[in-house]
């Protein structure tokens, strides 16, 4: 693949990752969030596939397929089913979206500052967009910290995870395959566990509003 085209496509998929994260902060209905998350998964898979093709590395390409299946399809489907079971709830986060959006801009600046030392890890388009991965990590944190419902927190966790994966593929073209598989399985398990816990919390509390989880103090 030509270098300039590669660099453009990497920029484009990184842009899609960032855009989906920003829209996730703004749009807080559950089904909308899950769709955006799925989109983000696809964008991540595209990025991985691009790196795989560019480096002519079959392993990376296979990982891209896995990422697509897991983050683009399986996890969103799991979340959707979980959301459907509890009925569409409007997701009112702790922070008003306008403030959250401006916080995103600040977080982006922070991410750029943090990523500055990483610039020496290589040159070329993949190194340039590392800050996007870091921004994703921070936005994931934001979503997690301000999400009121179980699903919203889950989405935040997955955005955070996508961010980490983005940084991993951008800096090192991914970690060794064994570790990669372990990570993907762990993420899947965590999501499954949180799903089961969501169900149980709903059975016990009657809702998944995590504001109610205030019995343990001190």
């Amino acid at each position: 693949m030509a270098d300039s085209l590669f660099s453009q496509l990497v920029g484009l998929s990184a842009g899609a990752l960032l855009l989906s994260a920003v829209f996730l902060v703004w749009r807080r209905t559950q089904s909308g969030s899950i769709r955006l998350l799925s989109l983000q998964g696809v964008a991540l898979a595209t990025l991985v596939a691009l790196i795989g093709v560019h480096r002519a590395n079959f392993e990376t390409f296979a990982v891209a397929l896995l990422v697509l299946l897991l983050k683009g399809v399986l996890l969103p489907v799991l979340l959707t089913r979980s959301a459907l079971r509890q009925g569409e709830e409007r997701n009112t986060p702790f922070m008003n979206p306008t403030a959250a959006l401006f916080l995103v801009a600040l977080l982006a600046v922070l991410a750029y500052v943090v990523s500055r030392p990483l610039a020496i890890l290589g040159s070329g388009p993949t190194t340039q967009v590392i800050p996007v991965g870091m921004t994703l990590v921070l936005i994931g944190f934001l979503l997690l910290a301000t999400g009121r419902h179980a699903i919203a927190q889950l989405v935040g966790f997955l955005v955070l995870d996508n961010g980490i994966a983005t940084v991993a593929f951008l800096t090192a073209g991914g970690v060794p395959l064994v570790v990669e598989l372990g990570v993907l399985i762990d993420v899947l398990l965590v999501v499954l566990i949180l799903r089961v816990l969501t169900g149980r919390i709903r059975d016990v509390y009657g809702a998944t509003d995590l504001d109610d989880l205030t019995e343990l103090r001190g």
Partner: protein, 317 residues
Amino acid sequence: MNTSAVLLALLQIIVMILITPFLIGLMRQVRNRLEGRVGAGVGQPWRDLRKLFAKEPLRAPGTSWIQAGGPVLLMVSSLSVCALVPLISTLQSRLIPGDLFVVVSVLLLGTVALALVGLDAGTAFGGMGSSRHMTIAALVEPTVLVAVFALSVPIGSSALGDIVRARIVDPSSIISLVSLLALVALGIATIAETSRMPVDNPATHLELTMIHEAMVLESSGRDLAWLELGSWLRLGALLGLIGSLLLPWGMATEPKLLAVLLGLVMLAAKLFVLASLLSVTEVFLAKLRLFRVPELLAGSFVLALLAVIASYLLEAR
């Protein structure tokens, strides 16, 4: 060079005046057809204008000169924008600075004129519309400014013509991260600025939600015609700017007849494509509740800001 640039600017004005009513007609027609109605035809806005221009403006007692001057001022601002924004060619004269900041301030002038017209009659709806419009404008103008600024950073010039020319030279920069973020921000800002869905519904007169229609409620006849044409021109010019940034091909880079003709055809094509797209998406969108609008605009502003950050830190190396 200078004369030809002035001539081209004049050409842009004339072309835009001719095209934009058809553009609006097209958008309405597309919407009508998609919603299963016949529609009044593409030429209807022109017929409306002709009718309005022929009518004497009725002004409510107690209104001031603003009722007559505001529409003209809006028209002047819109025409200036049409002249300043690179639409047919990227040529710019020193006489007419197509600078980003100039364009935004001229746009703002029109916004203020429109808001004053809404306030002048002292009716409840006019005031409401003006206040809403100013709220939106306060968020939109910085977004436009920041978004285009992000595009100007890699080029090192804030002249719109230079930005577009650089994109013709290096088309790959169009799908870069910076460009993507900036264009999405600019798109949202354009929709809000020109009072389209999902910010305002141009097709209703529902007093509780309308923005643009509320401001022009007290104007009639010639005044209304100026206001309508002025607003359409703004939409046309902003769509044209997005078109030039997104698809800069075919624009004249030198003052030759053939190139200019090509630029003209391309402009028309770009505008019609973008307008149809906008219209199609509008069919699928529901209007946002008013207090959600600032969220949308804050989002677009953040995107523009991200674009600036990205442009500084990515392109610097």
